[in-house]
C-alpha cells in the first residue's frame, strides 16, 4: 500500500472507531431474495441480541451511521440507494452483505449491476449466502474496529494442515 493509501486507511479506521459502542444501522435491500434480510432480522433476536453491543437499527437515514446493503444492485433501485446514502451524514460506513452484493451469483447485465460497489463505495464486505448472524456481527465489529479482520490469515489449502 502506498503511503497515501495507508494514511487514508488509518484515517478511516479512526473515523469509524467513533462508532465503537454506539452504531445506528440503516438496511437497504437492492433486490435480494430476502434471506439476507432474515439473517439481519435475526440479529435483533434474544440469542444474537445486537443491542448488547450498542448497535441499533434505525429507519431514518438521517440518524444512521452505517448503511447495510444486500442484493445485487438492481439498476432500477439506483436512485433510491443513492438518495439513501446521500441522506446519511458523514462519517458513514457502507457494508455490503451476501454473495449477491459482492459480485457473485448475478453478472452485470441490463437489469442489475451485479455488485453493490458498482453503485456505492463499500467499506466492508461480508461474504455468505446468507451470511449467518454471527458473520454479520463479525462484519459490523470489524467495521467499527472492535475486531480484527481474520480472512487474510485464513488458509483454504488443506495441504498445509496435512503437512503440519
Amino acid at each position: 500500500m502506498s503511503e497515501e493509501q495507508r494514511v487514508a486507511a488509518e484515517l478511516r479506521k479512526r473515523a469509524f472507531a467513533l462508532f465503537r459502542r454506539s452504531l445506528h444501522i440503516r438496511t437497504v435491500d437492492t433486490g435480494s431474495c430476502a434471506v439476507c434480510e432474515s439473517e439481519i432480522r435475526l440479529l435483533s433476536s434474544p440469542y444474537y441480541d445486537l443491542h448488547r453491543l450498542g448497535f441499533f437499527f434505525t429507519p431514518a437515514p438521517r440518524h444512521a451511521d452505517l448503511l447495510l446493503v444486500s442484493g445485487p444492485a438492481v439498476r432500477a433501485f439506483d436512485p433510491a440507494l443513492l438518495k439513501t446514502l446521500e441522506a446519511i451524514p458523514d462519517p458513514r460506513i457502507v457494508v455490503a452483505v451476501g454473495a449477491c452484493a459482492l459480485g457473485g451469483v448475478f453478472g452485470e447485465d441490463e437489469l442489475v449491476h451485479g455488485s453493490v460497489d458498482a453503485v456505492v463505495p463499500v467499506d466492508v464486505y461480508v461474504p455468505g449466502c446468507p451470511p449467518s448472524p454471527l458473520a454479520l456481527l463479525h462484519g459490523l465489529l470489524v467495521a467499527v474496529g472492535r475486531l480484527e479482520e481474520k480472512v487474510h490469515a485464513l488458509r483454504f489449502d488443506l495441504r498445509e494442515e496435512a503437512k503440519a
Partner: protein, 110 residues
C-alpha cells in the same frame, strides 16, 4: 407453572460472541477448502464449471476461490471428492475486496 419462572429456569440464552466463540455456525454451509496436492488442472476446470455462482475459476497454475461470490452450495464438494471439504470458516469480513480472493496452487501432477 408460572410462565415467567420458566424463563428464569432456562437462564441466559444470549450468545457471548465475540467474548467467547459461538458454536451455532458449526455444521452450517461454508466455503470449501481444497487439498492442493490432490488438485489437477482437469479437476480444477471441472470444479470451476460446477460452481453456479462463479466463485471458482482456474488462473494458470492456481485455482482462484472468490470467497465473496461463494454461496456455500456444496456442489464443488460433490464433484471434487476427497480434494474438497467444507472449511467451516464464517468470520470472513474484509475491508478490501481483493483479500477475499484466495489462490490455491494446483499441486497434483507436478
Amino acid at each position: 407453572m408460572l410462565w415467567f419462572l420458566r424463563g428464569l429456569r432456562k437462564g441466559v440464552v444470549t450468545s457471548h460472541y465475540p467474548a467467547r466463540p459461538d458454536p451455532s455456525t458449526d455444521g452450517l454451509p461454508s466455503p470449501p477448502a481444497f487439498r492442493s496436492d490432490l488438485l489437477t488442472a482437469e479437476l480444477a476446470d471441472r470444479l470451476a464449471a460446477a460452481c453456479p455462482s462463479g466463485a471458482l475459476r482456474r488462473d494458470g497454475a492456481d485455482l482462484v476461490l472468490d470467497l465473496g461470490a461463494c454461496t456455500g452450495c456444496g456442489r464443488c464438494n460433490e464433484v471434487g471428492g476427497r480434494a474438497v471439504a467444507p472449511s467451516g470458516a464464517f468470520e470472513l469480513a474484509a475491508r478490501d475486496r481483493t483479500t477475499l480472493l484466495k489462490r490455491i496452487p494446483i499441486g497434483a501432477g507436478r
